[in-house]
């Protein structure tokens, strides 16, 4: 049965797709949520006059946004290279 399945379905592509979908799908949400967290913490820290915390929060937001931007570029490259 499993041999028949393997002849019909490209099981390697299927496994890679499931793994990449899990990593990319959950990953992009985590990274974007971290950007929101960073931006929100930055606002609070600045209001409270905590300079160090504000810089750390801004750093988190910028790095996470950068990662989201990179994910968009990778997505467009995938589309172009199909």
């Amino acid at each position: 049965m499993s041999a028949l399945f393997a002849t019909i379905v490209d099981t390697k592509a299927l496994a890679e797709t499931v793994a990449a979908a899990l990593v990319a799908g959950v990953g992009i949400t985590i990274v974007f949520s971290l950007a929101i967290l960073g931006a929100s913490l930055f606002g609070e820290a600045r209001r409270d006059g905590r300079g160090g915390a504000a810089v750390a929060a801004a750093g988190l937001a910028l790095v996470a946004l950068g990662a989201c931007g990179a994910a968009i570029v990778v997505g467009i490259v995938v589309m172009i290279s199909k």
């Binding site: 019909i8 379905v9 592509a13 299927l14 799908g25 949400t29 985590i30 929101i36 997505g75 995938v78």
Partner: protein
């Protein structure tokens, strides 16, 4: 002369399918953005239409193998393609009528398999392709998207759960502009290619185009325009189902469903195991709902959608086969396609008129 008339009808029918594809699948791209108020409805639809148009030009890898994986290429004639397209259009309009999201690609392949069965028989249908390219992915896509959507929203709530809802919602709404844009681009690239492939196939079969020539520019422009126009027309009934009837979603859920959906679609494209955009987004929406609370998903609506997915291939195949049979009653010339196309246009007009009389589309706000 007959062959040229048939070719013109096939091209027109392919563009009509492309229009219904955009019209039907608008919901995939814009429903979550509209329901979370990330974008105003008309702006969301215009944005999706523009990016669908652009997406059609991004990759010009010829999609002439649209049906080659599921039927013998030698079996494909303009009349077979025509009957298959009618099967796909009929299923797209039937599911639009009842507001159900379903895969336009599976409808197209179902229609072509049905018309091929009627024209040649089972020997021309590639069972491995039907299972490997349609049935197995149809099971995998919603499950993967459901799991990814559910995990994504659980992670998102853990990260932003203690923050003020106002700024969190604004953030996710902004994110939806990007994730919705990626979905629209991916949709334009994938689905407009299928129509370009079908038209190119018909041009080659008619001898108008050499087998080794590329897709003519007018085919690219017309397919891109048809899918963009269809998208701009907006299938409001499916938008309502996707945006509000499966779950009542917040901005974080909308982003999780869309972002996870875009990532799943692109990952599947990259690894050569393409999944249906519609099934991925619908699965993602259900997952984003269930990840928050299992009872948040209206499982009755979800069940109807899954039933539509199961019926897509056989129903489109049945209509494709019946259309081929009716067309052949009038011989092998252009008379059959002309009569069938005229009747189909009349039925489409009737369906739109009935729906227009039955009430307003999705409430917008």
């Amino acid at each position: 002369m007959d062959a040229d008339v048939t070719l013109v009808i096939v091209v027109g029918t392919a563009l009509a399918f492309d229009f219904t594809n955009g019209f039907h699948d608008t919901a995939n791209v814009v429903a979550t953005s509209i329901s979370t108020r990330a974008m105003a409805p008309r702006i969301a639809i215009a944005y999706a239409a523009l990016l669908n148009f652009a997406g059609a030009f991004i990759s010009l890898e010829v999609a002439a193998t649209v049906a080659d994986d599921v039927v013998e290429a030698s079996a494909i004639t303009p009349t077979v393609v025509f009957a298959g397209l009618i099967g796909a259009i009929a299923w797209n309009l039937a599911t639009w009528y009842y507001g159900l999201p379903s895969s336009s690609s599976h409808a197209l392949l179902g229609g072509v398999v049905g018309s091929t069965l009627a024209a040649v028989g089972t020997s021309a249908v590639l069972a491995d392709g039907v299972f490997g390219k349609i049935l197995i992915p149809a099971v995998v896509a919603p499950i993967v998207a459901f799991v990814v959507g559910a995990l994504a929203i659980v992670c998102a709530y853990r990260i932003v759960g203690r923050l003020r809802p106002g700024s969190v919602n604004r953030g996710y709404r902004l994110g939806q502009v990007a994730s919705g844009g990626m979905l629209a681009l991916a949709h334009g690239t994938n689905d407009a290619q299928k129509t370009m492939g079908v038209i190119t196939l018909a041009l080659v079969a008619n001898g108008t185009l050499g087998a080794d020539e590329g897709v003519p520019f007018w085919v690219v422009v017309s397919a891109a325009s048809a899918i963009a126009l269809g998208t701009y027309s907006g299938g409001w009934r499916i938008i309502r189902t996707m945006g509000t009837r499966i779950i009542k979603m917040d901005a974080a859920q909308g982003f999780s469903a869309q972002g996870a959906g875009a990532a799943v679609i692109l990952a599947s494209s990259h690894f050569g195991f393409p999944l249906s955009t519609t099934q991925v987004i619908s699965g993602g929406v259900m997952g984003a709902g269930a990840g928050k609370r299992v009872s948040a998903v209206r499982w009755g609506v979800a069940g109807n959608i899954v039933a539509a997915w199961l019926l897509t291939f056989p129903a489109a195949a049945a209509v494709g086969a019946a259309t081929y049979g009716v067309t052949r009653i009038f011989g092998t010339g252009a008379v059959g396609p002309v009569i069938v196309a005229t009747v189909a246009l009349g039925l489409v007009a009737l369906a739109f008129a009935r729906r227009a009389r039955q009430g307003a589309p999705v409430p917008v706000g």
